[in-house]
């Protein structure tokens, strides 16, 4: 099995070499070699992608796209908090690709020797204020969150969205007295969609994903705390070719379009 695989990789490399040589001659040559390659160059097999929970909608869509573009591939996802994913990977969970919601957790993965090549930043996310639909407390700015009688829910400083919140607080000089510090951004969103609190701080993509269940109030100071999402192929990958293909899909124009539609900004 392994020898067949290495032959396939060698053939792929040879084909790429031929393609790059011929592409220097004419443009048409490169398009034909790119679109109709012989059987060994096609990507097949299963890959497992460990991705931050906030990537669930976009990555599920891109996974389906990958399976459609490359018949015979199967993309399986494990969505969870980035730090949970790093813990699972460190404990030996088998995976081919890791996409983190912050550089901090990707650094942990790199330091643990889990990553095969340099991580690539593929998206950024910023905070936004969300309120129950219609913004009943008429919150218009970050400073409004500190008004007495306003029940604000934020992430705890230990998790990425909470450290972003802290940064914004420091930048604006506004100190919040939240009624709850949740351990996941989805829990903050839940407290707003269920109408328990007056306002919360979540990512732009969370607000967009919640649709009309919340009203989003963007605030300019959010640019002071930008979360960058890196992605990388993992060293233990059994199918590095397909893993690399998925990373290229995410960082390529198609992936960027899907991510932008969900509210992510380009890195």
């Amino acid at each position: 099995m392994r020898s067949i695989f290495s032959v396939a990789v060698a053939a792929l490399g040879a084909a790429a070499l031929v393609a790059s040589c011929s592409s220097s001659q004419t443009d048409t040559a490169s398009t034909t070699t790119g679109s109709a390659p012989p059987a060994p160059t096609s990507i097949t097999g299963d890959i497992t992608v460990f991705a931050a929970a906030s990537l669930k909608a976009t990555f599920t869509e891109l996974g389906a796209q990958m399976e459609k573009d490359n018949p015979g591939t199967k993309v399986t996802f494990n969505f969870a908090g980035s730090s949970d994913l790093v813990t699972q990977l460190t404990q030996g969970a088998p995976a081919d690709v890791f996409a983190s919601a912050d550089t901090n957790n990707m650094t942990k993965a790199v330091d643990a020797g889990l990553v095969a090549n340099d991580p690539v930043n593929f998206a950024t996310n910023t905070l936004t204020i969300v309120t129950p639909p219609g913004n009943p407390k008429q919150i218009a700015s970050f400073a409004d969150l500190a008004k007495p009688g306003t029940q604000v829910v934020v992430c705890a400083p230990q998790v990425p969205c909470g450290s972003a919140t802290e940064k914004v607080e420091q930048a604006t000089g506004v100190t919040l007295t939240p009624v709850s510090e949740e351990s996941a951004v989805t829990d903050v969103l839940g407290k707003i969609t269920s109408g328990q609190a007056d306002a919360g701080l979540v990512y732009v993509t969370d607000a967009k994903g919640a649709g009309d269940k919340v009203s989003a109030v963007p605030f300019p100071e959010s640019s002071g705390a930008v979360n960058t999402y890196p992605i990388a192929v993992l060293k233990e990958s059994k199918n590095p070719a397909a893993a690399q293909k998925f990373v290229e899909l995410v960082t390529g124009p198609e992936g960027q379009k899907v991510l932008a539609a969900a509210g992510f900004a380009a890195p």
């Binding site: 009624v179 351990s183 269920s194």
Partner: protein
């Protein structure tokens, strides 16, 4: 219950030897993870980790809320157990199944149910707001969540004790002219004190470990709603050593509870 003791004079049947093997696998399955936690503890920093400000706040809150929840469970659980064990009315078995549902329900479902009952936009939320009562994000919410999931433990254990005790003594007391309340106070309840104690201990332990319903319904704020399990869950994000140390603390408290409960059970007429 008496049939199990009919072995007088006959040879006692021992256990087949092979049964010890799967039993031992089961025992290891429980014990090894506990040992794994012990091995993972950062002993030199253990005391600072469990006595940090946030850890102490979480422990104190957990003990306070679990005590309050146990009190709530005893106050409403004892009458419930009495009615289920002794009462006679149509639909009792259906009611019993409904009341014990939280026993098998995932706690997070309990949390959602409480949210839509006592939350700001819940079934009773509007009325509570008119009365000026805010439950969400308060310690009261934690006690409600814990009581909701713990109540069936107390009811089941007390109901079982009541059924085992039977009604003979109560009937005799009644023939001697005891009024129902007198019989309840002087005969029924004293007979089932051990069952009540072990039920209360179970409810306390369940309250102490409550996580899902609290997280969903009460939120998480140091000293107000962040109990020990929530603190462990949060610390795990940035400080796994603290999470492990606090886990051991919770294991020790749980072990003390089990020992206390076992000694009560030994003292009881079982």
């Amino acid at each position: 219950m008496t049939e199990g003791r009919r072995s007088g004079g006959l040879i006692q049947v021992g256990l087949p030897t092979w049964i010890y093997l799967p039993a031992m696998v089961g025992a290891l399955f429980v014990i090894v993870p506990l040992v794994a936690i012990l091995l993972k503890i950062d002993w030199p920093n253990f005391i600072p980790l469990i006595t940090s400000e946030s850890s102490r706040a979480a422990l104190v809150l957990s003990l306070k809320t679990a005590t309050a929840s146990t009190a709530v469970c005893v106050l409403i659980g004892v009458p419930m157990a009495l009615v289920l064990a002794r009462g006679r009315f149509p639909g009792k078995s259906v009611l019993r199944a409904l009341l014990l549902l939280p026993l098998v329900l995932p706690p997070v479902v309990g949390g959602i149910a409480l949210l839509y009952t006592f939350g700001r936009q819940g079934l009773l939320g509007h009325q509570l707001q008119l009365l000026g009562i805010r439950i969400a994000f308060s310690t009261t919410a934690v006690v409600l969540a814990q009581s909701f999931v713990s109540l069936p433990f107390l009811v089941v254990s007390l109901e079982g004790a009541l059924r085992t005790a039977g009604t003979n003594y109560e009937n005799i007391a009644a023939t001697l002219g005891g009024r129902p309340t007198t019989v309840l106070r002087t005969v029924t309840l004293p007979l089932v004190i051990p069952g009540l104690m072990s039920g209360a201990v179970l409810a306390f332990a369940r309250s102490l470990g409550e996580f899902g319903a609290t997280l969903t319904f009460a939120g998480s704020l140091q000293g107000v709603t962040r109990t020990l399990p929530l603190e462990i869950y949060l610390q795990r994000e940035t400080d796994p050593d603290a999470a492990v140390a606090l886990s051991l603390l919770l294991i020790v408290v749980a072990a003390l509870i089990v020992i206390a409960s076992a000694s009560h059970r030994l003292a009881g007429p079982v």
